[in-house]
């Protein structure tokens, strides 16, 4: 059963009340809010997500509410609650959806230590995972979105969840966040693809979120094997170049991009080594999105030919 199977009234009532337990890949987040605009965005961008049954295990309780009703007309704000505790500084009310996504990111980055968690985008083709690894601002979200809408299955635009002792990466697909210029780029690429509210003035400037493709959500419980680790670098006017990177170097860069590499200790080391061993690593320099998509297509079909 997905959220879209409920009537709007039922869904809003549940969100305002005890919350709705949404399955996001391996996680269940019980989501609640009485903020109407946030309900709108959730009903739109999370309509395809499975709803967990009652009485199940919930990983995160997430609520966003307006803490001060009398502030509603003067600089209204919303506050976040995770597992019943108020957390973080408030956001302006018109950025409630951005706060929500940010909160879920925080939960995914900081808690599920049953995985080795890399700060990377991941997409999949034919059971093989492409990991896009890089600092914020390296353009990986835009690349991820483009790939996700061009025949690759979205796993996540923020995290690679590696199951220790395996080469498996697990999916936790969520709306893809886009900033500023990327929003227009993706609108051009996929003008009909649903997008969430455009929010200006956030910490990252103007942001909007692309709905996770239906296929990604439907197959969220299908993992894939790590196959390519790519460090993308957008550079104005650059032609698409995919330069192989040594594995030792790739290991260190990936470890640097991990949230819990140190925390996991020996398990972190051996898990990352396993994934690096399984993969070809590259540095990607590009400026033309279409060209890159073509390049990755070739990479994937080389793989198909070889196997």
């Amino acid at each position: 059963m997905t959220l879209s199977d409920w009537t709007e009234q039922q869904a809003r009532a549940a969100l305002s009340g005890a919350g709705v337990p949404l399955r996001i890949g391996p996680f269940v987040a019980r989501v609640g809010t009485r903020v109407r605009e946030l309900q709108d965005a959730l009903l739109r961008l999370y309509r395809r997500y499975p709803v967990d049954g009652p009485g199940g295990i919930v990983d995160w309780h997430v609520r966003i509410e307006a803490p001060n009703p009398w502030r509603r007309f003067v600089g209204p704000q919303v506050a976040a609650y995770v597992d019943g505790r108020r957390r973080f500084a408030p956001f302006p009310r018109d950025q409630a959806f951005a706060m929500f996504e940010w909160l879920l990111n925080w939960c995914t980055f900081s808690r599920p230590h049953q995985y080795l968690i890399l700060h990377s985008a991941v997409v999949e083709r034919d059971g093989r995972a492409l990991v896009l690894c890089g600092r914020p601002g390296a353009g990986k979200s835009t690349l991820c979105a483009a790939l996700a809408l061009s025949g690759w299955r979205l796993f996540s635009d923020e995290v690679a969840l590696i199951r220790p002792g395996t080469r498996e990466i697990h999916a936790a697909p969520r709306p893809i966040s886009l900033k500023e210029g990327s929003i227009d780029v993706l609108r051009q690429l996929a003008p009909d693809h649903p997008m969430g509210p455009k929010m200006a003035g956030t910490r990252k400037g103007t942001v909007a979120h692309l709905e996770a493709p239906a296929d990604a959500i439907a197959r969220a419980e299908e993992p894939a094997e790590a196959r390519w680790i790519v460090f993308p670098r957008w550079k104005a006017g650059a032609s698409t170049t995919l330069t192989p990177l040594g594995r030792a170097r790739a290991f260190l860069e990936a470890a640097d991009n991990a949230f819990n590499y140190s925390l996991l200790g020996e398990v972190g080391f051996t898990s990352l080594a396993e994934v690096v061993d399984a993969s070809d690593a590259y540095v990607l320099e590009y400026s033309d999105l279409d060209d890159v998509l073509g390049r990755f297509d070739r990479l994937a079909s080389q793989e198909a030919v070889a196997s």
């Binding site: 030792a248 290991f251 260190l252 140190s262 020996e266 080391f269």
Partner: protein, 108 residues
């Protein structure tokens, strides 16, 4: 006396190694630190892991690995290397060692 000092890995040290074409990475289980070692350093640590070695033995190894002659320069580089490895908890002097706090390996 410097010539008598032998170097070993700390008692109970557990290292996990990964060798790749472009470098060796080693994980120090007790400290939780990850180190990238260049080829010469990796050879030295492996040799010491195998059995305690004297400074001369290590210098010889360094000269071999770096394909250069065993001279004062090589010995100086070896001492530097050992200091670096000691700072990372990868090697330590056997009985004795340095008295001065600034020279825990007794290399000066």
């Amino acid at each position: 006396m410097v010539a008598e000092t032998r170097f070993r890995v700390p008692r109970g040290l557990r290292l996990i190694w990964r060798d790749w074409a472009d470098g060796t990475i080693v994980y120090h289980c007790q400290s939780g630190d990850t180190h990238r070692l260049h080829e010469v350093a990796a050879r030295v640590v492996r040799a010491i892991e195998d059995a305690p070695r004297s400074l001369d033995e290590i210098a010889t190894l360094v000269a071999e690995a770096a394909a250069c002659s065993l001279n004062d320069e090589t010995r100086a580089q070896t001492r530097e290397l050992l200091r670096g490895l000691h700072a990372r908890g990868l090697v330590e002097p056997t009985e004795g060692g340095g008295e001065a706090a600034h020279d825990p390996l007794g290399l000066d």
